[in-house]
């Protein structure tokens, strides 16, 4: 009799435990814990600081992608920072420098003297587009500024070449000639200052 009671009690405890297990399982079905933070920037206004009238006629666009790095020698290992900068050098003429007597018309003949071809804007790197390629060690903002300046110098050196300036000039002459011909002038002579 005593054994029977013990078995019944044990069975009852087991049933309660199993029921409790299933209840707990269903209650904790949607449980989760996550540790993290937002990746998005906060919404902030964009302010217009200046509006400028310009007259830059671009004849050659040189898009550059420059990978630059800096290495700091360490006792055990070297630290390194590698970034990829993007920029577009625009070559052409500044129409604001067009002389008042730059164009001479004689019937259907036209002679035009355009200002010198050069780099239209010294700000040509899109730094916000920069990609971080590799980083080891801790680097300061000063180091990043030095990398920007290095990329700037490299782009000038590689893109602002005599060949590219000549190509811009040749294309400028061709484009202006085409435009003047569309305006009805048959004999067009374009000269660009050197």
């Amino acid at each position: 009799m005593a054994n029977k009671i013990k078995i019944i009690i044990a069975a009852a405890i087991l049933i309660v435990i199993i029921a409790g297990f299933f209840w707990l399982k269903s209650a904790t079905k949607d449980n989760y814990i996550s540790l993290g933070s937002s990746e998005a920037i906060d919404p902030t206004p964009t302010q217009i600081q200046a509006i400028k009238d310009i007259g830059e006629w671009e004849f050659l666009s040189v898009s550059a992608e420059e990978m630059v790095d800096t290495v700091r020698k360490g006792f055990f290992k070297d630290d390194e920072l590698v970034r990829i900068y993007y920029g577009t050098l625009r070559l052409g003429i500044d129409m604001k420098q067009l002389a008042p007597d730059a164009i001479t018309v004689n019937g259907d003949s036209l002679q035009m003297t355009l200002p010198k071809v050069g780099l239209l804007d010294k700000d040509f790197i899109d730094e916000a587009k920069t990609k971080s390629f590799y980083e080891s060690g801790k680097w300061s903002n000063k180091d990043r500024e030095a990398l920007y300046q290095k990329a700037y110098r490299q782009m000038i050196l590689h893109c602002l070449t005599k060949e590219n300036l000549e190509a811009a000039q040749t294309n400028g002459e061709a484009q202006m000639q085409h435009m003047m011909q569309q305006l009805g002038y048959k004999n067009v002579t374009i000269r660009i200052e050197k």
């Binding site: 993290g36 937002s38 302010q47 577009t88 730094e127 590799y134 190509a167 484009q175």
Partner: protein, 232 residues
């Protein structure tokens, strides 16, 4: 003796169930954990690499906007979850990170003359009308003010990595591009196109009152996607 065994058995079952229950609770770690630094440095070519693309064109830039933006990011570490159907969202103490990145950018509007033809010119006696192609807008440059960048990093957090900084700067760039339609740059570009072309037409012999510089149409907000060039 039997009673002791029974109690031990029951305790064992309860322990087993607790272990199973704990295993079913999903724990998601911080997805932002930075990977451990690898030893790639040895394999990197330290010679600067340059890729260039040269393109002939005929674009007249008529308006330049200089814009300024302070990119901010509040990187508070939060413990989020749900336990027993109760949701919670707690800020982890001493784990704040904040950054403010001042940035300047140049946005320019241009008219592409590469397809300019007779169709763009209308003549009527001494009068001439030049119908210009649609103006296009492009961000020509941007500069991060590294000197005035400010950051605060909590005791338990790692410093902002270069990759994170680049990501915030790219997001700032996109935010500037999204705000272009509110700047009224096409109106300025249209007005300035006349300032460049009218003196040239005057030199060709036309009287100022006989010169009309026109655009195909007035641009509505629906046209913006076509006018803004994301990559030049």
């Amino acid at each position: 003796m039997n009673r002791k065994r029974l109690i031990l058995l029951a305790c064992g079952i309860v322990l087993l169930l607790i272990i199973i229950l704990l295993l079913t609770v999903r724990c998601e770690g911080n997805s932002k954990q930075e990977p451990a630094p690898t030893t790639l440095a040895q394999g990197i070519d330290t010679v600067p690499m340059l890729i260039t693309q040269v393109q002939k064109c005929s674009k007249l830039y008529t308006a330049e906007y200089r814009v300024h933006k302070i990119i901010t990011h509040d990187d508070a570490l939060r413990l989020k979850g749900q336990l027993m159907s109760k949701a919670f969202d707690l800020k982890v103490p001493l784990a704040d990170r904040k950054i403010a990145i001042p940035m300047d950018a140049k946005i320019k509007a241009y008219i592409d003359f590469s397809e300019f033809s007779e169709k763009n010119i209308e003549r009527s006696g001494d009068k001439i009308t030049i119908i210009l192609p649609d103006p296009q807008i492009v961000m020509t440059s941007s500069k991060i003010d590294q000197k005035n960048m400010k950051q605060y990093v909590g005791l338990t957090r790692a410093h902002f990595s270069d990759e994170e900084l680049a990501s915030y700067q790219q997001q700032g760039r996109e935010a500037i591009i999204k705000s272009i339609p509110d700047m009224g740059i096409t109106e300025t570009a249209q007005a300035n196109a006349a300032k460049v072309l009218v003196p040239m037409m005057k030199q060709l012999g036309y009287e100022e009152q006989n010169i009309t510089i026109a655009f195909r149409k007035q641009y509505s907000p629906q046209d913006w996607n076509a006018l803004i060039k994301l990559n030049d």
